[in-house]
């Protein structure tokens, strides 16, 4: 018997396959992927373009569902048909950080950070941090809270996006090329934030092409043609 069966995983993908299209136009993005992510893990998902990294991230983030196989997030099965529950799971347990930040320029930094809470139907019971506390976590001055995203630098925007991702106290941060739009200094700063969040017990999954970014992870998974071809601890 696998002793890990009784352990709680932040994410558990079993034999996940994802096929897009139908008939002759089918594209298989993931083929029988098995992946478990433990609490406090810092996982890097690497691989060439078209290997299925983004599809894996979308399925982990409940933004997409597998064609076959099962997904559990923080012990809760992700329903294939129930979109409302998937959205609720995403809002409660997942924090997203995108390459393009995707902040709302009409809102202030403070309002952007608070935005995910507007959609929250329930919390996981823990106290939600104030914007001032969240901004401190990403090493930014509180004075920036009242600025608009258009009034701060790219590196600062990505840090605000990380603070927003942390707003609902998620079980896992999913980061899609988080340093893709940043220079090296800002990339280092952002990765330093991920390191400190991970040291504090946070679970982080980073999809990246960048070996420098991947080197921060405690485990690296390589995808090729939709399959996990290599899993290693760097």
């Amino acid at each position: 018997m696998d002793v890990r069966m009784n352990e709680r995983h932040i994410a558990d993908l079993q034999d996940v396959t994802k096929v897009y299209g139908s008939g002759r136009n089918t594209v298989t993005a993931l083929r029988g992927v098995n992946l478990r992510i433990d609490p406090g893990e810092f996982l890097a998902v690497v691989g060439p373009s078209g290997s299925g990294k983004s599809t894996l991230l979308h399925i982990l983030g409940c933004m997409d569902v597998p064609t076959t196989g099962t997904v559990e997030i923080d012990g809760e099965p992700v329903p294939r048909e129930n979109e409302r529950k998937r959205t609720a799971l995403r809002g409660e347990k997942i924090g997203f950080v995108f390459q393009a930040f995707h902040l709302l320029n009409e809102l202030s930094v403070r309002e952007n950070i608070e935005l995910p809470r507007m959609f929250l139907r329930r919390t996981n019971g823990s106290r939600l941090l104030k914007p001032e506390e969240l901004i401190a976590k990403v090493h930014m001055p509180v004075a920036l809270l009242d600025r608009r995203p258009t009034e701060i630098s790219g590196g600062e925007r990505q840090r605000v996006a990380i603070a927003r991702a942390l707003a609902n106290n998620p079980s896992m941060l999913l980061c899609d090329e988080p340093t893709g739009n940043l220079d090296s200094a800002n990339s280092e700063a952002v990765m330093a934030i991920f390191d400190s969040l991970n040291r504090a017990g946070g679970t982080i999954v980073v999809v990246t092409h960048n070996p420098e970014v991947a080197s921060h992870a405690s485990r690296m998974v390589t995808l090729k043609d939709g399959q996990v071809v290599e899993a290693e601890s760097p």
Binding site: H58, G61, M63, D64, E83, R84, T87, A88, R90, G91, E92, G95, F96, F98, A100, H102, L103, L104, E106, L107, E111, E114, L115, P116, R117, M118, F119, L120, R121, R164, A165, N168
Partner: protein
């Protein structure tokens, strides 16, 4: 905490032109509809109220019919024939309102629309003199003073008294009058008590003079209408029929005049207003369609512009209902703002017209609440239509998948 309304206001503010366009269409729809409706409802309430106040025994005769002009003019002779040959009458008042300009140097102003009539008009219009008499005795000689009976507003504003003589130059503006000027001395014979408005005419602004004098001054025998009062409501039908017979005989058998009783007058007014109501409904429907299309087009453009924002919001936990609610809120804010501005503008314009334009505009209702249920129905329908037409784009926004929306260019 960030609110949906904050987000909605910011997006609406960012797209000022689009927002302004939608608000403007709703404002126009409400303003125009309110003005037209308050005119119709106000006219119906006031006009018919004034007619009803005259009682149910009066009968009105006017030259021409709804289909043709008069062949023979309505004359004082017709009025006298009615008085002599029709039974059960209490009063017959021939009325002549011709285009006379009366220049009064002592007042420093001109008056128009002097009404030629006789004393029976008091019985029919239900008012009378507070000082002097309404005898309107005239010698048939324009060199003698011309008696006038003056409406309440005229004599109170000009400090007139009974017996006062006023030198005047009278110019007939009608074709028959030839535009000649006549120097006369007006003499105040009677001062009328306050009466108010009747069918669009403020009787307190009226000046009455003997009808024969007006005939001489205007060189015309055409009456504007004849008012008759039956002695009792039970005779109205018979009197109406008899008037038709008498006048038709005098007009060589031609039915080239119209006889209306109070009841048929009210029906006539209702019919006329119903025609207006149909036109107004068409205008309202057009404005409603414009408002609906404006909110539909603007919200569709907003959804197209904000696909990545929608994707980001979905990614950070927004439910489909959150996205839909956001767009519906924005549409509602625009429509409600437009409706609110329209109500204020409609009320202000109605008040201004009523206070300054006079005439027909005096019937305008200046308080939208006076429209009763119609007012709330109008606002409800406008808001509901705006809401319904924004549902399609809002629904489309809510159906966007996060992954698909985030990958939008």
């Amino acid at each position: 905490m960030t609110g949906r309304s904050t987000l909605a206001f910011r997006y609406l503010w960012r797209q000022k032109m689009r927002t302004g366009f939608v608000v403007l269409t709703f404002t126009a729809a409400v303003t125009v509809t309110l003005l037209l409706t308050s005119a119709i409802v106000g006219t119906e309430q006031t006009f018919i109220g004034e007619i009803n106040a005259l009682g149910v025994t009066w009968i009105y005769v006017e030259p021409g019919t709804s289909n043709s002009a008069a062949i023979y003019p309505l004359t004082v002779g017709d009025a006298q024939a009615i008085a002599h040959n029709v039974s059960h009458l209490s009063a017959v008042a021939p009325i002549m309102i011709d285009g006379l300009s009366v220049n009064l140097p002592s007042w420093g102003k001109s008056l128009s629309d002097i009404t030629g009539t006789n004393a029976s008009v008091q019985t029919i219009f239900k008012y009378g003199v507070s000082e002097g008499t309404f005898a309107l005795d005239w010698q048939g000689n324009l060199s003698a003073p011309l008696p006038i009976v003056v409406g309440y507003n005229i004599w109170t504003h000009n400090d007139l008294s009974v017996g006062q003589e006023l030198p005047a130059t009278i110019v007939s503006l009608s074709a028959s009058g030839g535009g000649g000027a006549t120097q006369v001395n007006l003499i105040v014979e009677g001062l009328l008590g306050p009466r108010g408005s009747l069918a669009g005419t403020n009787l307190d602004d009226a000046i009455f003079t003997p009808i024969s004098a007006l005939e001489d001054l205007t060189n015309s025998i055409s009456l504007t209408y004849i008012f008759v009062s039956a002695s009792s409501s039970q005779y109205v039908s018979q009197v109406t029929s008899d008037i038709s017979t008498v006048v038709q005989a005098r007009h060589q058998g031609y039915q080239d005049f119209t006889v209306l009783s109070e009841q048929s007058w009210v029906s006539y007014v209702h019919d006329q207003l119903a025609q207006f109501t149909s036109i107004i409904s068409l205008v309202e429907a057009t404005l409603l369609m414009l408002s609906s299309m404006s909110v539909f087009v603007v919200m569709t453009m907003a959804v197209k512009d904000r696909r990545r924002v929608i994707g980001a919001m979905r990614a950070i936990g927004a439910h489909r209902s959150d996205i839909m609610g956001q767009f519906l809120l924005e549409a509602s804010l625009m429509s409600v703002t437009g409706i609110g501005v329209g109500v204020i503008l409609g009320t202000v314009v109605a008040g201004y017209l009523k206070a300054n334009a006079g005439g027909f505009y005096s019937y305008l209702l200046t308080n939208p609440m006076d429209l009763g249920a119609y007012f709330y129905e109008l606002l409800g329908i406008l808001w509901a239509v705006g809401f319904l037409f924004s549902m399609v784009p809002a629904y489309q926004a809510s159906r966007l998948e996060a992954v698909e929306a985030l990958s939008s260019l």
